[in-house]
């Protein structure tokens, strides 16, 4: 057994740094920021070293991990490891965290408190990295939940302070307070039941929480009947809330709109992936029979999500809310790919996740920064952004193009291949449902193009409104550009060389599919 040292460092270095930051006096803001950045950079560097050590020829195997006894009385272990499926997501997580911290150097919303924000980002990073490497259900659960507290406080403390009325509540409430608790309650609701599902697997699966062992059991048909249906249902609940799939998505637009820029970026880029990753890592391989049974339902829900997300986007006047709903649509493509249960579809989901992380992350960076500059997210009032803020405008235009799936950019592969997967799902699945979902998805791509172009037209093009003319507006500064340009470059790179992702994922996905579904 290998030591798993690299992965352990990637997971826990941020947490240790966060504790360290607690000890630095609040006034030493620059030191706090530099320590945070240093820690995140180091984590990223270690994750790159891990990627170099990774044996891409055996990407289907779990590598570089370890297994140490953790809670012996329930036979839960500190079992970690990565394969081609988790590696890209792990890198994405460590990378986006660095960019988020760079962006936060100069762009902390009120109340500033760099110490609080930086330590929350680091704790969040531990949770995200941990989820991607955990190979024990309980360990997975702990990391999966670890992200809740930091994100709750990030939204609640630094979030949008405008007061709004919420149907069902007597008094008006600040957006941030409503959104933060809604996010928390929705996710906990899903994961509380998910935990019951994990326990069910534990008791039926020879009292083990080890994911690889459960996969072995699952693919040999150990979990069947009502029991398996129930377990898949609760796992579905836990993961689908996080993705989020329609109709469990309602927390997402609120959370995204209310969250500070960094929060939105991390939420969109990484946290949503925890859900879809859970499907690929846990639900599908451990309960393949149920996955087949549920696949049509998932496909239909995904298709509804795509159409619903796009239509909702067309109705938005709030820039951040629009991007939030676009996430519902994009994650719909990811889930559509997964539901096809073919290697093409799941590969599509993998590249879709990474691409969505990069592109939507960047969109939230840009829109957050614009909201900060203009003090409004109302698209009716914006306009002529290209003339007012040429750099920001250019990046916004580029990202919107990437987001609508322009060939040659990263977003294209996920959508295109998900549709391909849905056209030809795993043999035995109801072909009519999948082809209809595919058609719905295709209509969705058109709608996506529609709302993004319309958004560009309203925000970026045209003449600036009068209210902006006499104001001094700051275009993107260096911190912003340092955070954004790498994402632009990655978007192009992955668009042109999708093999960057597929090289890692393909073998792992084929191994998964052949083991679980024999196809």
């Amino acid at each position: 057994m290998e030591s798993g040292l690299g992965l352990t460092v990637v997971v826990f270095l941020p947490l240790v740094s966060a504790i360290f930051i607690f000890l630095i006096p609040k006034k030493q803001e620059m030191i706090i920021k530099l320590v945070t950045l240093g820690s995140a950079l180091l984590t990223f560097a270690v994750s790159l070293i891990v990627a170099l050590q990774f044996d891409f020829n055996n990407a289907g195997d779990l590598q570089l991990g370890t297994k140490v006894s953790w809670i012996s009385s329930i036979n839960s272990n500190y079992e970690i490891g990565i394969d081609g499926i988790s590696l890209p997501l792990l890198l994405l997580s460590t990378f986006i965290s660095v960019l988020a911290i760079i962006y936060s150097f100069e762009h902390l919303p009120e109340p500033k408190n760099a110490k609080g924000m930086m330590s929350l980002i680091l704790i969040l990073e531990t949770g995200m990295n941990g989820t991607f490497v955990a190979l024990d259900l309980i360990l997975f659960f702990v990391f999966f939940e670890l992200v809740l507290l930091p994100m709750y406080f990030m939204i609640g403390i630094w979030g949008d302070k405008t007061v709004r009325s919420v149907s069902g509540l007597k008094n008006d409430i600040e957006t941030r307070l409503y959104a933060s608790i809604k996010f928390f309650v929705f996710t906990l609701f899903g994961s509380a039941f998910m935990l019951l599902g994990f326990l069910g697997l534990y008791f039926r699966g020879n009292r083990t929480f080890s994911i690889p062992e459960l996969i072995e059991l699952g693919s040999s048909g150990a979990f069947t009947g009502t029991f398996a249906t129930l377990v898949f249902a609760v796992l579905f609940l836990g993961f689908a809330v996080k993705v989020p799939m329609w109709p469990l998505h309602t927390w997402l637009p609120d959370a995204h709109t209310a969250a500070p820029t960094v929060g939105s970026v991390l939420l969109a880029a990484i946290l949503l992936k925890l859900g879809s990753y859970g499907f690929v890592r846990i639900a599908l391989p451990i309960l393949p029979e149920q996955a087949v049974a549920w696949a049509p339902a998932i496909a239909v829900l995904s298709a509804i999500g795509i159409i619903y997300g796009s239509l909702a986007c067309l109705a938005q006047t709030d820039l951040k809310r629009l991007i939030a709903f676009s996430s519902v649509g994009h994650m719909g493509f990811v889930m559509l790919g997964i539901s096809s249960l073919t290697s093409i579809g799941i590969n599509a989901a993998m590249i879709g996740m990474v691409a969505h992380g990069i592109i939507t992350g960047l969109l939230f960076f840009v829109s957050g920064s614009m909201a900060h500059t203009y003090h409004t997210r109302d698209m009716e009032r914006l306009g002529g952004n290209m003339k007012l803020l040429p750099k920001t405008g250019a990046i916004l235009a580029f990202t919107a193009m990437a987001s609508l799936g322009l060939p040659g950019l990263a977003g294209f592969w996920g959508e295109f291949m998900a549709l391909l997967g849905a056209y030809n799902p795993l043999p035995g699945l109801n072909i009519t449902i999948f082809r209809s979902s595919m058609v719905a998805g295709a209509i969705g791509t058109v709608l996506t193009a529609g709302y993004l172009l319309w958004m560009l037209q309203r925000v970026n093009l045209g003449e600036p409104k009068e209210e902006w003319l006499d104001k001094e507006l700051h275009d993107a500064d260096n911190y912003e550009l340092v955070a954004w340009i790498p994402l632009v470059i990655l978007t192009v790179l992955i668009g042109v060389f999708p093999k960057l992702i597929f090289g890692a994922t393909n073998d792992a996905v084929i191994a998964l599919v052949s083991k679980a579904f024999g196809g």
Binding site: S69, W70, I71, S72, S73, I74, I138, F141, V142, E145, L146, L148, L149, Y152, F153, G156, I157, R176, L177, S180, I181, F184, V185, L188, F189, A192, F193, L195, L196, L199, G200, Y202, F203, F227
Partner: protein
Amino acid sequence: MAAITLDILLPRKFKFIIAMVSILGSLFAFLPIIFQFANYTTPEIMFEGSYVIDKFSLILKGLFILVTYLTFLLSVNFVESDEYYQGEYYFLLLSSLLGAIVVTSSRDLLTMFIGIELASTPMFLLSGWKKGDQKSNEGSIKFFLLGVLSASLILYGFSLLYGVTGKLVFSDIANILIQQDLAQSPVALLSAILILAGIGFKISIVPFHSWAPDTYEGAPLPVTAYLSVSSKATGFVALIILMSKIFFESGDGLGIILVFISGITMFVGNLSALQQTNPVRLLAYSSIAQAGFILAPLAVANITNNFEDGVYASVTYLIIYAFMNIGAFLVINLLQRNIDSENMYDWGGLAKETPLAGIFAVIFFFSLAGIPPLGGWFAKFVVFRSLLSTGEIFGLSLAVVGAINAVIGLVYYSRISKIIWMDSPKEDVQKTENSIIPSPLKVVGFVSLILTIVSGIFPGIFSNLGEASSIFFNS
């Protein structure tokens, strides 16, 4: 060996003048427990089976002593600040501790009854310790009346058992019940229900919970903390012993009653807690809901006869719950020092004044809500685990109820953190400058903090205790 423990406890009763003696004494009493635990080989049986020292009792004795120690530390500033009777205060708490310690080892009806009453009688007095305060008097009278009622119910139950079997020691009673095929008879069930009702008051499960919010609100805060942790644990220990030593063959009826009580307790506690504005009342209802969680594994164990998992879960929950709940009371105490209002909605932005209390609030309240990586998650987890262990329908339903309640709980547990961290300060509320936290309170905070976090990240340590207790308990 019990004598060692008692020897150290008894002299302290006469040296009650100074708080220091009590505090050091309770810390000192911890040592023999550790030695005994380390050198443990076989259960020590004394007085013809009436008094047994096994790992179960040692672990819980350790818990009670530590909790009392923390309560003393919480009390120092309180007792000194208002001119209360100091000596009696410590004496009464120590008597209560002695009662709790006796309960953990008692294996016959008399010893157990004496233990239970010794543990709870001093609390009647202590809960009325704020003499001039109407609420305190009201709460203590309520507590006293219901407490006496509960004592008589327990006594009825015990005397029925004695009348039927003619024995006092639990193992003899159980043997006779089984031999004469009385285990599932109406008499045994009736006595079980009477005892359950009596102990139900102590552990504040629905429908015997109504005293708790008033008494908690009126009592001095350290006493409330002790009530909600130690008194409750004493009741649970008694219940665990009785259930698994006498009523283990009593059939499904009792278990089903317990399952319903447990589920309803969770709902009533949580839904009522949602509406509270006074933080102490909120914690009172929260502790009712938590009692539902602690009871759940026992209830299901009664149906499945899987006492090993049930006791393991309950004991682990009790241990973790003790520290996070003391921490939660500490938080209320710290925050109240800074503001002149008992309505927590007036506490907006308080965390900026006392960041340490703010961080404590986050840790302890979210731990109570069961959010990883804080200790509470593991407590809830072992409960769910024992509920699902046999896949039996009652356990399954109770687990679903528990999961729903965990979500409801989050809503109000997050509220205090939300108010003090996210809300803006209210202008019309009087603030008192009190930024220095007395060191005893800091000790309480950090001890509970470390235990809460360690039990969340390395639950193995605590679960080994729970496991040890459950295994040796059944032998």
